[in-house]
């Protein structure tokens, strides 16, 4: 990529970012939250939501190109400047920015000096870690290479959000995360920074923990320490730059928690506009989550319990009736233009929340395709290669699996969490001790703990027992962080040894959490060296050679760039690496079975418009590999170009 092209692409990204941020700001102004932490949450949720919505609509219209998105962004900015009410609002940005800066200074000033120093060091170390890992490594996590990034690569390549022919049926699952991840590929037309797609969720989750701690009555320093502790959770850190959608679901869960705690809090005066804002954002957040991953539905009973318990069981109904009445008053206090804008925003959220399932329903008769649904033995939806079941046998299996992984003693914490929970040093050390203690002393935390436990149990009741299902629990360690915040405020300052030991344990746990995530516990120094010796634009997932056979590297090196590459992998095979980092490789799926004769394999390749067929050990079914090898050895029309790469009509 030339310097001029890079500058133009970055310019397009900047214009579009300014447009989305300006939109988020306009809506944010209409949704006053009354507290700085909740205001920050509102701005982040709106930013994530509007970015996703813009790309989603552009994708459906086939406009996923840097130049077209820049044109949309520029036109949008001109339109905003042309509408007097919006222009007036946008002119308030400098004033609001000064207020934000004042709030941040007040927050920073409220922290003791040692905590400011520790925080600055932690933030700097975290920034450097994120920046280095995003810059140095291509994506390598299993689910990403199988389906998350396969969608991203296809959409970026063709400039359109669409389904395509592939054996990876999980491309059908709700894909709001993948739409957002496309924001990190479409402008550069490269995956160099796609791992940053988890950072917005990471920041949102951390801020939500801070806001929740404040709602529980914790001081600013204690809430901040709780938020830092959660931010250091190894499973979260690894998934954030692991191009997975679980940090987003965790962020939406914790955001909903923060908003519910604010709404359920008895101490807060009922303000109509603030009640409306919180409820509105709650709806947007949950709809965004519904279109990200279906298991948010399994977490809802826990959230409902958290909403009901803090006001007190008997007070629940009157409390929420009061809140809803206030929100209705807030709605009627808005002018007609603002109401229309907010309705439009909510319609966008409904679209993002429901599109994927409705599309699947229309195409396959099953909204949850490729997952069939089975509740207490009754089949609700048949279609699909996997089945989501709701029964107690699964609960027992999943709880046993959790018990085996509890304590993280079975192995290193890796991104797929095959042997561990990944909750890390803080959770199992200071966090867990604080949970047990604070549950006896703090009523609000006790309600929260019940809610978290209920979410966990319902999830365990329904998810498929698998070695990799700990990834659904990234939100769970937040409970220990919140308990720790509550406990810190009650920590006596005398004798001095108590706070000193507490802070050493806290700092040590966070440092060890960070240390365990420096290389994902997977990537050795020589692999880093292998990537760093290449220019940024040439770092390919297939060349990392970490978790895939050498056939992928051969395909990247030897498949001709100008021709489509045919591939055959199973339903869990890697497709993403074949697109190449700049999405230049066109792909086409060639269905082959072990019983096909050589002539029909060649005919099918021609039919699909390709001369090349890629197969790989442990990704392509063994009988297909054997068949293709036999065909090449027979000296017929199929020849082996390099390991795993076969060609027909080699001489032409």
């Amino acid at each position: 990529m030339s310097a001029l092209e890079l500058a133009l692409r970055l310019g397009a990204w900047l214009v579009c970012s300014v447009f989305v941020l300006a939109m988020a700001y306009l809506f944010h102004r209409q949704l006053p939250m009354g507290r700085p932490a909740l205001s920050a949450i509102s701005l982040m949720v709106l930013g994530i939501f509007l970015t996703t919505l813009l790309l989603f609509l552009a994708g459906l219209l086939g406009l996923l190109r840097a130049d077209r998105l820049a044109a949309i962004g520029f036109s949008g900015l001109v339109l905003m400047a042309a509408i007097p009410a919006w222009r007036r609002s946008l002119l308030q940005i400098p004033r609001d920015f000064r207020a934000l800066s004042h709030d941040l200074r007040r927050f920073w000033g409220s922290l003791p000096r040692w905590l400011r120093i520790f925080s600055a060091a932690a933030v700097l170390a975290s920034l450097l870690r994120f920046a280095f890992l995003i810059w140095a490594l291509p994506p390598f996590v299993w689910d990403s290479l199988t389906y998350h990034l396969t969608n991203v690569a296809h959409w970026t390549q063709v400039g359109k959000i669409e389904l395509f022919d592939t054996p990876i049926l999980r491309i059908y699952t709700p894909a709001n995360y993948e739409v957002l991840a496309t924001w990190f590929t479409v402008f550069l037309h490269h995956d160099a920074v796609v791992e940053a797609a988890g950072i917005p969720a990471y920041l949102l989750a951390t801020t939500a923990v801070y806001a929740s701690a404040r709602s529980l009555g914790c001081s600013r320093p204690a809430s901040w320490m709780g938020a830092m502790a959660y931010a250091s959770t190894p499973a979260l850190l690894l998934a954030t730059t692991g191009t997975k959608n679980d940090p987003h679901v965790a962020a939406y869960y914790l955001t909903s928690l923060a908003l519910l705690l604010d709404l359920a809090g008895k101490r807060r005066a009922v303000d109509p506009r603030q009640s409306l804002s919180s409820m509105f954002l709650l709806a947007v957040t949950l709809l965004l989550a519904a279109g990200t991953k279906a298991y948010i539905a399994h977490l809802l009973p826990g959230l409902a319990a958290i909403a009901m318990l803090p006001p007190g069981f008997r007070r629940t109904l009157p409390h929420w009736r009061e809140r809803i009445t206030a929100a209705r008053q807030g709605w009627h206090s808005l002018d007609a233009w603002t109401r229309r804008c907010l309705m439009l925003l909510l319609s966008g959220a409904v679209l993002l929340g429901g599109y994927w399932n409705v599309r699947n329903w229309a195409l396959t008769g099953n909204p949850f395709y490729p997952y069939g649904v089975n509740i207490a033995g009754a089949r609700i939806f048949n279609e699909g290669e996997r089945t989501a079941r709701l029964n107690f046998a699964r609960l027992v299996d999943n709880l046993e699996s959790l018990a085996d992984k509890f304590g993280d003693a079975a192995g290193p914490i890796e991104p797929d969490l095959p042997e561990t929970t990944g909750w890390g040093w803080f959770f199992y050390g200071p966090g867990l001790a604080a949970v047990i203690f604070v549950c006896f002393t703090h009523r609000g935390l006790r309600s929260l703990a019940w809610g978290f436990l209920l979410s966990l149990l319902v999830l365990m009741l329904s998810i498929r027992p698998s070695p990799f299902n700990m990834r659904y629990l990234l939100w769970f360690p937040a409970m220990a962080s919140l308990a720790y915040s509550c406990w810190l405020d009650d920590l006596p300052s005398r004798p001095r040894v108590l706070p000193i030991v507490a802070l050493i344990a806290f700092g040590g746990a966070l440092a060890l959490n960070l240390a365990t995530t420096l290389n994902y516990n997977r990537v050795s120094l020589d692999r880093f060296g292998l990537m760093l010796e290449r220019p940024l634009w040439e770092r390919q997932a297939a060349l990392l050679k970490l978790n895939m056979p050498s056939e992928y590297e051969h395909a990247i090196l030897f498949a001709p760039a100008g021709e489509p590459l045919g591939y055959n992998v199973g339903s869990d095979g890697f497709v993403y690496p074949l697109y190449k980092a700049d999405f230049s490789q066109r792909l086409t799926y060639v269905p082959v079975s072990g019983s096909d004769d050589c002539g029909s394999i060649a005919a099918r390749m021609r039919e699909r418009g390709t001369r090349y067929l890629f197969v790989a050990e442990s990704h392509t079914p063994g009988e297909v590999i054997q068949r293709v090898r036999d065909c090449a050895q027979d000296g017929g029309s199929l020849a082996e170009e390099s390991r795993g790469l076969y060609v027909i009509d080699a001489g032409s």
Binding site: A409, W425, Y428, P430, N521
Partner: protein
Amino acid sequence: MSSTQEARPRAGAALVLLASLIALAWYGQGQLLHSLAFLYQVAQAVFPGLPVTPGGP
């Protein structure tokens, strides 16, 4: 506040701290080597004289 009332939060805090330290030691048995493995690998690259750990990453 009576001395008993003052002593109660201290005893509670001390109990939590003691439990934290025990839990950290328990957790460290399984995770300490994994957590420090990469840093040790970096240290080995910087100081080649450091002993090689068997079974390291």
